[in-house]
């Protein structure tokens, strides 16, 4: 309960001012396409040079919390996921926005974020020692199986055909191998200088999601605008609160999946949202509604990606190893003040450590309040005529993907993937599994190679990858997931006709 003792420090005028600044700034940076939470936090580091350690960390903690949630704004309104964490949010969130339910989608996403986020931070407060062991339990073989588990999710994720879903995933996995391979440094599939550095995930995300939507708006031409004036529905916050708590399953699955997966170093943050989305779809009574603007989709995805924030800091705060790129940046924020995280961080610097954690708790609430406030205003984005919208999204996509590395090559990659994705989507492929492949490919490959190197030097590949309860557990889940997909494919053959599929496609686009 020590965290309550330091709660007062959050509310001193300067600290609270910084908390507000971090939260609002974080929401804006998070909503900026191309600016991932890691980059946003890194941008704020220079400001903390001038501040006291405690103040600096309050600013960084608040910014981390709210950039993750802020990514939902561009994901829902513009269908540009700000970071891999927000991919799953676009699936239902953007569909809701195009139906005029943008306000509702944003409110749900901020409320779910706050619930997930608070849960995650409480885990950090109460279960850190236990979680630290869990974070270390995942070696190369386990991360490999985890990535394979992610790949099996591909087939059922946002696609009406399992084969095409898997094929989309394969395209993503292949795209991920382009460039230098991470371990050997060999060049692979470099057919154009723009991809010599490999395909960067963030420009790829922007292209794959935003560009098809721009082209779809182009296809509507000049004249058809009157046909689809969207009435933007106002949505009282009270109803949103009720809705979030009515969808208990999605909220619980999102929060728990997010916190467990978020803890695993290197993998967690990026796929927590997608895995939670897929899981809650499988467990939902209305699983067929997913992808058509269903509130459970938004709730699961957003509660998961904010639930990950707290646990992702566990390895950093207890073992001094950053578990994610953002944690690495936060480590820098501690180091410049001469504070070394580790088991005795909370003994040596309680004032800094607990205030930092408290600021993330209060930050979640502030983020939710501001988020709900913008939700009402931002939802009218749906009323913007499609010509203006197409031009804005295109402009943002170009600026966003350029700013990741100040590189024109990334812009070419973004545009090429985007145009290709538009055509692929017209033929039943989807962007979400493709992106999942792009993210998981390097994780699967690097851990497989590392694992086999360790295995060859020690116990042998078979023993290394196939023994130990964690390996068995993961393999069992992989098998279950594949069987589920195969069963679904066989079952769906019986009733899916072309017309059904077309009807679903129409509902989607």
């Amino acid at each position: 309960m020590e965290f309550l003792f330091y709660m007062g420090d959050v509310f001193t005028p300067i600290n609270f001012g910084l908390l507000l600044l971090g939260t609002i700034g974080g929401l804006i940076l998070g909503a900026t396409p191309g600016l991932s939470p890691t980059m946003a936090v890194a941008l704020l580091i220079p400001f903390t040079f001038q501040l006291e350690p405690q103040q600096g960390l309050i600013l960084l903690g608040a910014a981390y919390t709210s950039t993750v949630a802020g990514g939902a704004v561009s994901a829902i309104l513009l269908k540009i996921p700000g970071a891999p964490a927000n991919i799953a949010t676009t699936l239902d969130g953007h569909t809701m926005a195009t139906k005029g339910e943008g306000a509702k989608a944003l409110q749900l996403s901020f409320l779910a974020s706050a619930v997930g986020g608070l849960f995650g931070v409480f885990l950090l407060i109460f279960l850190t020692p236990v979680l630290a062991q869990w974070a270390l339990a995942f070696g190369p073989s386990h991360l490999f199986w985890l990535a394979i588990l992610g790949v099996t999710v591909i087939g059922t994720l946002d696609s009406s055909s399992v084969v095409k879903g898997l094929l989309s995933g394969c395209i993503g996995l292949w795209l991920a191998t382009i460039g230098f391979d991470d371990i050997m440094g060999a060049q692979r599939f470099i057919f154009h200088p723009a991809v010599s550095g490999g395909i960067n995930v963030i420009p790829a995300l922007i292209g794959l999601f935003a560009i098809p939507q721009v082209i779809t708006m182009f296809t509507k031409g000049r004249s058809s605008d009157d046909a689809e004036i969207i009435t933007v529905q106002r949505h009282p916050i009270r109803l949103a609160v009720l809705e979030v708590f009515r969808r208990k399953t999605a909220l619980a699955i999102g929060t728990i999946t997010g916190s467990i997966i978020g803890l695993i170093p290197g993998v967690g943050g990026q796929i927590a949202g997608l895995v939670a989305y897929d899981q809650s779809k499988k467990f939902s009574k209305e699983s067929e509604k997913f992808g058509t603007g269903h509130s459970e989709g938004v709730i699961a995805a957003e509660s998961a990606n904010n639930a990950m924030v707290g646990p992702s800091l566990v390895p950093l705060l207890t073992l001094s190893i950053p578990g994610s790129p953002t944690a690495a940046v936060l480590l820098g924020g501690l180091l410049i003040h001469g504070i070394f995280p580790g088991p005795d961080l909370f003994l040596n610097y309680p004032q800094v450590a607990w205030t930092f954690i408290d600021s993330m708790l209060i930050g979640q609430l502030l983020m939710c309040v501001f988020g709900l406030y913008i939700a009402g205003l931002a939802a009218s984005v749906a009323r913007v005529p499609h010509a203006v919208m197409a031009a804005i999204v295109l402009g943002l996509a170009v600026f966003g993907s350029y700013s990741v590395q100040n590189s024109m090559g990334d812009v070419y990659v973004m545009a090429t993937l985007g145009v290709a994705m538009y055509f692929l989507e017209r033929f039943g492929f989807s962007a979400a599994p493709l992106v999942l492949g792009l993210i998981l490919g390097p994780i699967a490959e690097a851990n497989f190679i590392q694992g086999s190197m360790i295995a060859n030097a020690t116990v042998g590949t078979g023993t290394y990858f196939f023994t130990g309860w964690l390996n068995w557990l993961l393999i069992a889940i992989v098998v279950a997931s594949i069987s589920y997909s195969v069963w679904m494919e066989i079952m769906s053959r019986r009733y899916t006709t072309k017309d059904d599929a077309v009807a679903k496609e129409e509902a989607l686009s």
Partner: protein, 154 residues
């Protein structure tokens, strides 16, 4: 007309199968082999799935995806051409902000339903473009210090 999506499906899945087979070929012939273990695995699965999809399309058994209508193609073409010129050439050739301003304005003029004969609608387009560019400049150049390719005019 009913056969249009089917033929399109054949072409699309044929292209993908072609990509799949060629990357499989590349992976299995490139050296060093150690760096291509993973690509070989992926490209084999890729090629098999792609060929399967292609065969299904040939048999006319494709269930999802409704292709592109001729009307949609005609509507998107001008915008697509402007976007392609903007992204692949103008952004670097004439400068980031200049190219974005021009492309933004042209796209608005192409797709905005407001009549082209009224002065008012032109003023509105100019105002929207100026507003958007101001936000972009403030956010990316001023706040985030992003270095963009040099402009030709300034």
């Amino acid at each position: 007309m009913t056969d249009l999506p089917r033929n399109q499906h054949i072409i699309a899945s044929g292209l993908i199968a072609g990509v799949g087979l060629s990357i499989a070929y590349i992976s299995f012939t490139q050296e060093p082999a150690a760096a291509f273990v993973f690509p070989r695995l992926i490209s084999s699965v890729f090629a098999v799935l792609a060929v399967w999809t292609f065969i299904k399309a040939m048999l006319g058994r494709t269930k999802v995806g409704n292709g592109i209508s001729a009307q949609a193609m005609r509507n998107m073409l001008p915008g697509l051409i402007v976007a392609i010129i903007y992204i692949y050439w103008a952004a670097k050739g004439v400068g980031f902000y200049t190219a974005t301003t021009v492309a933004f304005f042209v796209l608005l003029s192409l797709y905005d339903p407001a009549p082209h004969t009224q002065l008012k609608s032109w003023l509105k387009r100019i105002a929207i473009t100026a507003g958007f560019m101001a936000v972009m400049y403030g956010l990316f150049a001023q706040l985030l210090n992003v270095f963009t390719p040099r402009e030709i005019f300034f």
